[in-house]
Amino acid sequence: MTFFDVVTRSLKRRRLRTSLTLLGIAVGIAAVVALIGLSRGLVSSWTSGMKSRGTDIVVANMRGSLTPKPFPASTRDRIAHLPGVSATCMILVDLMSIENAELMIVSGREWGCFAWDNLKLVSGRMPNDQNERAVVLGTAAADILKKKVGDTVQIETEELAVVGIVNGGAFVENGSLVLSLPLLQQITGNQNQVSAIDVRVTPGTDIQRLCAEIDRLVPEAHADPAGEHIAGSEGYRVINAMSWGTSLLAVLVGVLGVTNTMLMSVFERKQEIAILLALGWRQSRIVRMILWESALLGFFGGIIGVLLGIIGVQLLKHAPALRGMLEPDLRANLVLEAVAIAVFVGVLSGLYPAWRSSRVAPSLALHG
């Protein structure tokens, strides 16, 4: 028998109570995994979308919002000639309610620019020119809208022909409706306005330095390496803060659950602790035993929570408001962070019960 056996045997003694405590922690950790996974997914999904388009820098005005605010298309003229810029592409992007779908990404792209290159036709064709009243749908968007080539789709008051279904090579691209920039400007009333300028740089260019240079020349927008424009936006920070806030509230409930369980356990086992002291165990070993018990509750609660979180996220990403918008980011570091939080929660919850256990009088061993 090892000391670890002593610890686990104590937890197994009250299986129902241990299980309910594990569930309490698990719910908190599931919230961490689901909410943080979704908010990080927002960044990673957009980043992968940028990468699939071959964008190195995004010039956009993201202040206070998740979708960029429009600014004059003429801004591009001040960027395109800069050393290190190999190509630019003006984009107008918006989140819009399309027919029965609550929110979808609608992307109007400058005709002929590199942001069209990653769109691989799955069926149909690309629009013939920027004036054709046509749209191509990403595969996920077509699935959500239940559209195929030859159908029409209504954007605001405009009915457009679905001429192609495309694979954009990234989750966000596949969840988008893509049309020419002038067409979307006209539909949304944003003539001569764009919401982002995608920039490709020549190899060897110092991206950070180029961003600083663009910022100096273009005060109405902000240049960021691709992907960082979302992470740095105020809207994303609010979402992230709310996700953490909600998760930590759930975790706090878990803390209280473990503390309650461990305190009850210490009170119930006062005489047993006194016996261990009478048999020669040091108070430090008793404290370690209680802390290990609570840490194990945290660890296993964390594992269960991660599993519940992953299941929850898979369900959430199919929710009407999120379908095709983002792919949850459930990489190993989030899983490790969640389990580490759970273990920390366990140890934290065990501190007071452990202190109480150290106050048990060994003379109790001779009572009863």
């Binding site: 003694r13 047993e272 016996i275 020669g280």
Partner: protein
């Protein structure tokens, strides 16, 4: 039956315990459990502490086990104050073994695991702990019950496991609190025979608290307590002149 004695034993053996003016009160002096107790116990003695409920027997045993501190007075173990020990846990782990009335085995551990419990502070390897625990269970006649949980053992078997556990770290003193209090007559006899043989064969100092005169008479010496005082210290055979209850 062991040797007769009268009063504190004066032998050539080393003094294991020496109490002087030992007092213990509870509830801010409302309850006086020990009212100035003096005695010496020599190496290898078998001493029965007898007395009615509330006489201070258990409080005295707590002092001997360094489980509690006195209100005043001194209690020395091999010449060193028991309450100034740098590591009381080490004293409890290595110098003494406890046998309790209610056995106090941990219910979720098998017999062998229960015997291993005190060995965690002895830095033995896992294999060494198990080997020693099995040997101890064999020495108390429980080789067939090694992997049984306490709930599957009789009262007498449980107390024998508890005795094996008390011997885990080779103590020189055994402190037994009413060790037969929860046993039937037959089991009680076996347990007493076992304790007596440990005292005799291993030359262990055995201090046994009881209110049973027949058990006290198996000791070489009896300390009779009434209201926190030692009223008799001597040959248990003479205890009949000093009724316990």
């Amino acid at each position: 039956m062991n040797s007769n004695s009268s009063g504190p034993k004066e032998t050539g053996s080393a003094c294991v315990f020496e109490a002087s003016g030992l007092k213990k009160d509870f509830d801010d002096g409302q309850v006086l459990a020990l009212r100035g107790v003096d005695f010496k116990i020599a190496e290898g003695e078998f001493v029965a502490i007898v007395g009615p409920s509330g006489s201070g027997k258990t409080t005295l045993l707590q002092m001997l086990g360094a489980l509690d501190r006195p209100s005043s007075g001194t209690l020395k173990y091999r010449g060193q104050s028991l309450f100034d020990l740098p590591d009381p846990a080490a004293y409890r782990a290595h110098e003494i073994g406890f046998v309790f009335q209610s056995f106090h085995l941990l219910p979720t551990f098998t017999a062998v695991e229960n015997v291993e419990i005190p060995m965690f502070e002895d830095h033995k390897s896992r294999a060494e702990r198990t080997t020693r625990a099995v040997d101890l269970l064999k020495s108390v006649g429980l080789e067939q019950r090694v992997n049984h949980f306490p709930a599957k053992l009789s009262g007498g078997e449980r107390q024998r496991v508890a005795i094996a556990r008390s011997l885990a770290n080779f103590p020189s003193v055994l402190l037994a609190d009413e060790p037969t209090g929860n046993l039937d007559t037959e089991s009680a006899k076996h347990v007493l025979d076992l304790l007596t043989s440990l005292h005799r064969d291993r030359h262990m100092t055995l201090i046994l608290v009881t209110h049973d005169m027949s058990i006290a008479r198996r000791a070489a010496r009896a300390l009779q307590m009434v209201d926190g005082h030692i009223v008799f210290d001597g040959d248990p055979a003479k205890l009949s002149m000093h009724p316990i209850v």
